[in-house]
Symmetry: C2
DNA sequence: TACAAAATATGACAAATATCATATCGATAA
DNA sequence: TTATCGATATGATATTTGTCATATTTTGTA
């Protein structure tokens, strides 16, 4: 049943996959790529909720609460998504209680994560926030101390609640202090321990 | 089945109803009173997630994600809770798909609310934050322009991410500007329109 | 009632962060 | 290819917020 309703979609970098306020028609499983979930405020500024990776149900937080998206989704790189019609999913909830329980677990886990991340960022100062983000990419996204940032400095600021200027300034400072190496979007963490320490304290 | 497993509990003001990290044993429905949900950070400072009112499932955000509480719950006033053993709830999810769907809707709604609130507060400055909180109490909790604040100034700060001093200072300023009247914990909103405007812009 | 602890209050100052200006670099499109 | 726009970069300055000190008031409890 689900197999028949399945549809593969491909999005290019920068493509908006769904927009805040639009009706939700399907359940989206991220197969390949990287996306950002974000809200746009009345002044047109974005705030990023989270960055999602393959294996994530990227619109799960919106699906059951309302018929409209609570946030927008944009691809940060070439992204493949598996879509299943929402009615099919709702029928599945009705017929398969194991599936329901797994969804409940997953939704709780996701919302916990978003809340926890923003609480942690909230209690840090600029250096701590940037360190936290660099470590997030290293530990959770790329599993490497060298990587190419998938976002602009402005987007980093939108995720960790800072201005673009301060984000850039802090990265420059880390480079001067030889905590990281930086060439455009390519980052290499030179002093992991120190970065961890900054991420904890400041 | 649920009726047999039901248990009524009463908590006094200030009593901790459940603590972050403790195992979750039951599903809690708030029948009467007012509670706060909060996380304590490594420095011992609390951050309040939300204030909950009768009708709320106060530990729903933790129940399905893990076996341990992700936040603590404390009664802000005399509070009555209806507890149902967690195993009974899980069996109900297995047997009743309508119930599962309602839980999914409710969890999504709650997490949306927590995230949305913190995003809104995050993009405001001190005056806007205090205004937002005063209006939250007036519009959502007490449905009146005059009320007795159920929390200390420190707790207000813990909810809207400000220091206690700045919270007190801002309230004093609102009183001097005759936007609110204030006598201890009793607040009366004198200029609702102006408060709404401050809450939107700043 | 009286005492201690917490909450409220306010000023002076320090620290953190945002804003504004300006420059260079790089990617993209006509 | 070149023009344009967005991204990166950095300094100077203004604004916001936090910290520390110190009183006063209120509250809970012995």
């Amino acid at each position: 049943m689900v197999n028949e309703a399945r549809k593969e979609l491909v999005f290019r970098r920068g493509e908006v996959m769904s927009r805040e306020g639009e009706p939700i028609k399907s359940f989206m499983y991220l197969r390949e790529g990287l996306v950002k979930l974000y809200k746009t405020n009345i002044h047109g500024k974005d705030q990023i909720l989270s960055i999602n990776i393959p294996g994530d149900f990227i619109n799960l937080l919106s699906i059951f609460s309302t018929s409209a998206y609570k946030y927008s989704i944009t691809a940060l790189e070439e992204t493949k998504v598996c879509e299943v019609n929402l009615d099919v999913i709702k029928k599945l909830v009705n017929s398969n209680s194991k599936f329901s329980l797994r969804l409940l677990n997953r939704i709780s886990y996701i919302s916990d994560e978003v809340i926890q991340n923003h609480f942690e960022i909230n209690q840090k100062q600029v250096k701590g926030r940037v360190a936290y983000f660099l470590l997030f990419l290293a530990d959770h996204i790329y599993k490497s101390h060298t990587y190419r940032m998938p976002v602009t400095r402005r987007e980093v600021g939108e995720l960790i609640s800072m201005t673009t200027e301060n984000t850039i300034r802090t990265l420059s400072e880390f480079r001067k202090d030889e905590i990281i190496g930086m060439d455009g979007k390519t980052i290499s963490i030179l002093d992991y321990e120190r970065l961890v320490n900054i991420g904890r304290t400041g």
